[in-house]
Structures are given as structure tokens and as C-alpha cells.
Subunit: 312 residues, 2 copies
């Protein structure tokens, strides 16, 4: 089979952390772009990105990064969008697609939308994938394989531009879904933002106890606690920005979580074994569906290797 | 090297689910017992245990299971102890050790302690290890490797019996710690019981939404939610019994979790980015300590394999 023509002559990644660098690796794997440019303002990070060898050019300035790029993807924490958008907008090529990877979509439309020049296709996106690692050396080509990428094109967006971006994500290994931005933010509040918030919270609670030492928490963490510490080790800036920018949906979902927890707490206090048993049975079925949908491994303990083996 | 003399001529496992069957596998691996007997009252479960080939004899009755056993380990859900203890007590051999594997220790002392005959060493225990799987075919020899086993001998227990049980657990791959039962229950409330409760709770909340469909929750679960579903798939009977029997410690730790969550919710509502960032930074350090202590893998995403590979 001859090498197919790449989808884009040039793509520009504004930020090359876990997601940005993984896009570069995935695009290289399937030769989706002739040239991959990365915007990395900090010299130290640029050196790390250089060493990871996923880009054709790395830049400290926005103008050369986005110049002549057919696809520009914002891949910084979402709190940086408002400052970046007006700076990069004048340098966007006519006909280019401007997208992003942020975990909140209404905010992108608010902060980036107004700066998008005539003739540029603005299509916010969100690849629902990640690990607890961050930085330009954390990326890998397989991150998006079998995961969903949600696109939230504003009404009236050019359909062929949406299809080009969708094809790019499919090339990166993803399945693509189109969604309304407000609905996206609600879905992610329950599947991602509130789970992260309560994981951060329980880890904080455990760290602050005076009756149980931190070393005890660490020693006995294999009994459940360690599962929470993984997502509570995710990038702090990225997560701060998510909570600051998806407040309404997070508070709504957190309100429901709290209501349900109050009922569960009452069941514990009053020894209502049937209520506990019924909930614990119901939740098993959801796990099974997630495994059946290919969104998690069926291997016990997530397939963790026995201690002392497989450390990276 | 010649085969060392086994520690026990016979051990009896009262219940052969994930933990009981794993003890059998681990004991076989290091030849810790000449004979491993299992008590399995249900015929269907007995057939599954038979097929898993980890026991030398399987019994529907307690008397032949524990007869002449130097070590008897209760490995049923803790709610069954109160009924089992008076039934098996008359059949215990003089000089035998009676232990268990339950996740709450004060209750064992309350429900089993009064039935222990003169001349039997009663030493409650808790191997801090497990997976979300259950049943006699879920066990494996490596489950306890590098994990802690906590023993809570009552005051005055024969020190050489405690040392024999500790040596047995070390033979199973564990490190052994001695602890006061009330303190054990507090430590496990924060490292295991409350984490399970909030995991069960968030999975329940997500299942009950009307604004986000269950199929959306499943599709986008890789964004964090799926980590919670693993422990929320653990055995319902076992977990009901834990919450019914460690009420005080669970409610205390849950109270602290709720207080902290209220503060965090306030930080989200008022947009207090510094408070969020500070917590999210602190929690990273705990993850690092857990990995350094060998209690979890350093591999991203728990070392989950890419979708479509490594399914068991």
C-alpha cells in the first residue's frame, strides 16, 4: 500500500503537554500531517519537547507556529485561552480549522469564539482520554485509540471542515461524536470533573487526619484508597482551570452526589443493610457495561502487575 | 534446596472466595501446609472450588473442615461470623490458631471472641489486599505479595502463636503489622471503607441522572469515572457487612470528608483558584509516596493496556 497523502500540510499545536504531544505522536503514526509545529514558550519545556522528538518545529512565538497551518489546536490549560486567542488570531491562515482539546466547551466558545477571523473554521473539540501524567514526555501515540473525541461546532459551521477534523481524530484512533457544548459540559461534569473533585477531596482528607498517620494511609492504600490517588495526581493547573470554568455544571452534579451521599450515610447510621446491598449490586452492572464497551480492561485491579514488576 | 517442613499439617479455610482461595494458592506455592481444607456449604460453589484445584478437601460441614487443623481462618463476609463461631468452636483442636481476614476487627472480637475455647489461640487478622473480583475462581497466589497483613491479637495472646501466624502470612508474601483493633478499624475506614462508599455513591448518582444518559456515562467513562467503577464492583454482601459493622469509624471519617468537600464546593462556587491549586498540588505528593512505597504501579493509567489488547 502506498503512503496516503497526509490530511494536512501543517498542523500547529499550541501547547505540547500530555495531550498535545500525544496528538503529535498519533499524527506521525498515521502520517496525518507533513509538518507538525509546536508552540512552547518556556525554554526548559522546549528542550524536553525537543528530546521527545514528536514535532518538526518548536517555537517560542505564536506567529511562526500557526503560519500556514491548516489545523491549529489549542492544547494548553483552558485558563490560557483568553490570552492566547487574540494573539494568534491575526496569524491564522484563511480556511484553517481552529480547534482545542479542553474539558469544558462553553468557555472556549466564550473566550476564543469572538477572536476567530472571518474564513477560519472554529470547531471546539475534546478527546476524552488522558493519564495522570503531564508534560511533553508523557505523550504516546496510542492515547486516543478506542476513546471518544467530542466535537462541538457552533451552529452554521462548514460541514466539510467538521468532517475534515473528524477524519483527523479518527486517524488518531478516536471515535467521533458531535455534541451541543452545554450538554458536553454536563456530561463531563459527572464523568470526569466531579470524580476528580471527590478524588482530590478524599486524598486531602486522608492527608489531614491526626488519628491516622500519613504513613499508615500510604501503607494500607491497596485497600481502595490508591485508586483515587491516581486521578488526584493529575495536572493542578489544568484542573484548577476546569473547575473555575465549569462551575455551574460541577455544582449541579456535586449537589446530586451530596444528596445521594447523605442518604447513604443515613443507611450506614441506621444499619439499613438492604439499601446498601441494593446500591452495591446496581453499581456492579455499570462496571460490566464499561468493560463491555471497551472503555476499561476486564483484568482484576486494572491489570496492575504484582508489586516489584513492570515499574516504568 | 530440600523442601522445608510445612508450617502446618492442616489449615482450614472457612469460605473460599477471592481471599480464601488466594490463601490456598499462596500456601501451596510455598508449601506452607500439608493439607488445605475448605468449607463450602453451597454445592454450586463447591463445584467451582473443585475446578479451581486449590484445596486438598472441600466440605459442606464445619466439623470435618476444622478437625485437626492447626490454623483455621474465617474468610466469609463478616456478617456470617456470629453464626459460624459457635458452630465451629467445639471442633477446634487444642493449640490451634483461629484467625480471620475481615476488614473490621472490633466486630470479630465481639462476635467470635466469646466462643473461642480454652487452649485455642484467637488472633484476628486482615490481609490488606484484594481485587474487585469475587468467588473461588478469582483467587491467585500473588495477591498478598508486597501487601500488608494486620494482626490484632487480644491482650495476653501467646506470643509464639502470633509469631507462627505472622510467619504464615510472610510465607504468603505479606509484610506483617500488629495493631490495636479499634485503630485498625479507623485506619481502614479512611483507606478503604469511605473510598468504597463514595465510589459506590458516585456510580449510583451517575446511573440516576435524567439529563445525562447511562450510555453517555459509559462512553465517556475514560475521563475519570471508570476508576471509581472498579471498586464499586466489589462483592455487595461483603461490603454491606463492613458498613454495618464499622459504623462509628466510617461515620467519623465520612464526616471529615463531607466537611472538606463543603469547603471545596465553596472554592468552586466562589472561584477560589488558589485554594483549588493548593489542594491539587498537595494530593500529587501522596500519590508519589504510594508509588515509592511499592503500593501501586508508576505506570500511567495503572498500566492499563490499550483497548482491545490484554483482555482476560
Amino acid at each position: 500500500m502506498s503512503e496516503p497523502k497526509p490530511m494536512f500540510k501543517k498542523i500547529a499545536l499550541i501547547g505540547v503537554g500530555l495531550i498535545g504531544s500525544s496528538i503529535a505522536h498519533a499524527a506521525r503514526r498515521k502520517h496525518l500531517a507533513e509538518h507538525i509545529a509546536g508552540y512552547v514558550p518556556r525554554a526548559e519545556t522546549r528542550a524536553r519537547a525537543e528530546a521527545a522528538c514528536f514535532a518538526d518545529s518548536l517555537h517560542a512565538d505564536l506567529a511562526p507556529t500557526v503560519a500556514n497551518a491548516g489545523l491549529v489546536i489549542l492544547a494548553t490549560p483552558i485558563g490560557a485561552y483568553a490570552a492566547l486567542a487574540p494573539q494568534l488570531a491575526p496569524h491564522l491562515m484563511k480556511g484553517a480549522i481552529l480547534s482545542d482539546v479542553g474539558s469544558v466547551k462553553t468557555v472556549v466558545i466564550r473566550d476564543v469564539g469572538p477572536h476567530v477571523p472571518e474564513g477560519v473554521h472554529f470547531i471546539p473539540g475534546h478527546p476524552v482520554a488522558g493519564t495522570e501524567q503531564s508534560g511533553p514526555d508523557a505523550g504516546f501515540a496510542e492515547l486516543f485509540d478506542g476513546r471518544w473525541c467530542i466535537l462541538t461546532p457552533p451552529p452554521g459551521t462548514d460541514a466539510s471542515a467538521v468532517e475534515r477534523l473528524a477524519a483527523f481524530w479518527r486517524g488518531c484512533g478516536s471515535d467521533v461524536e458531535i455534541m451541543e457544548p452545554k450538554h458536553h459540559d454536563l456530561v463531563l461534569a459527572i464523568t470526569s470533573h466531579v470524580p476528580h473533585l471527590i478524588a482530590y477531596n478524599i486524598v486531602g482528607t486522608a492527608a489531614d487526619l491526626e488519628t491516622v498517620t500519613q504513613s499508615e494511609v500510604i501503607k494500607y492504600s491497596a485497600s481502595g484508597f490508591r485508586d483515587f490517588t491516581r486521578i488526584a495526581a493529575s495536572d493542578p493547573t489544568m484542573w484548577r482551570d476546569i473547575f473555575l470554568n465549569n462551575r455551574e455544571a460541577v455544582l449541579e452534579m456535586l449537589g446530586r452526589f451530596n444528596e445521594d451521599l447523605a442518604a447513604l450515610q443515613r443507611a450506614v447510621r441506621w444499619g439499613d443493610g438492604d439499601a446498601l446491598f441494593n446500591l452495591f449490586t446496581r453499581t456492579r452492572a455499570i462496571r460490566r457495561s464499561i468493560v463491555q464497551a471497551g472503555q476499561d480492561t476486564a483484568a482484576p485491579n486494572f491489570g496492575r502487575l504484582p508489586p516489584g514488576t513492570g515499574k516504568t
